[in-house]
């Protein structure tokens, strides 16, 4: 997603990361009980994951997160004035990039007067990779692994 942010910056696209509650808290990266704790975990996005985009912290109770659907890794695209151009339950970079290109092209063509917007919906697909996900959860702590893999419906 940082790559998308970099490549579309020259089309005046702003890209930000809104930091929510911990989706998979564990012994190492715990659930938030204060904004200080939330800030510390958010810093790991920079220091461990290497996220370069602007990181914006939601309130401790997740006011924005809840209003936008409360899902663990959504992506939204807004036009000027907050017009919702895209909403996705998961962040799939290929899907996001395709939608961003369509939105930018549509907006440019609309300004020229030869395109009009219309509403559509589609079902998208993302990769399932339990092995990689388990590795990511392991860095959160053993409880994070157990809460997901041991307790999910068979």
């Amino acid at each position: 997603m940082d790559s998308i942010a970099d490549r579309f910056a020259d089309r005046a696209v702003r890209s930000v990361f809104v930091y929510t509650r911990e989706a998979h808290p564990g012994e190492i990266y715990r659930h938030h009980t204060s904004m200080d704790g939330k800030r510390e975990n958010a810093k790991a996005l920079r220091s461990v994951v290497g996220v370069k985009r602007q990181i914006l912290l939601d309130t401790l109770e997740g006011d924005a997160h809840q209003a936008y659907g409360c899902l663990p890794n959504m992506t939204w695209i807004f036009g000027r004035g907050g017009l919702i151009l895209y909403k996705s339950a998961w962040t799939d970079p290929a899907d996001v990039e395709d939608s961003l290109k369509r939105a930018l092209d549509g907006l440019e063509r609309r300004m020229k007067g030869d395109k009009l917007p219309f509403y559509s919906e589609r079902l998208s697909w993302r990769e399932r990779d339990d092995e990689t996900f388990r590795t990511l959860l392991e860095r959160c702590g053993p409880q994070a692994v157990s809460d997901f893999f041991d307790k999910r419906p068979k």
Binding site: V13, A42, D58, G81
Partner: protein
Amino acid sequence: MSDYNYSVFDMMAERPNFENFSANLHVGERAPDFPLEDLDTGETVNLKDIWNQGVTLVEFGSFT
């Protein structure tokens, strides 16, 4: 204190959020504005101040 910041992930408890996602806030509508805290500067940034500059891509998430 609400259970928003749960200490134990429960997949079944999160399922309604996925089921309800398509029901609220649709493409073509106006997004709600919220104040957020810039991690690096500590300053308050309103979402509307970002999208009023142009197309804005917002990813929600956490380290875990």
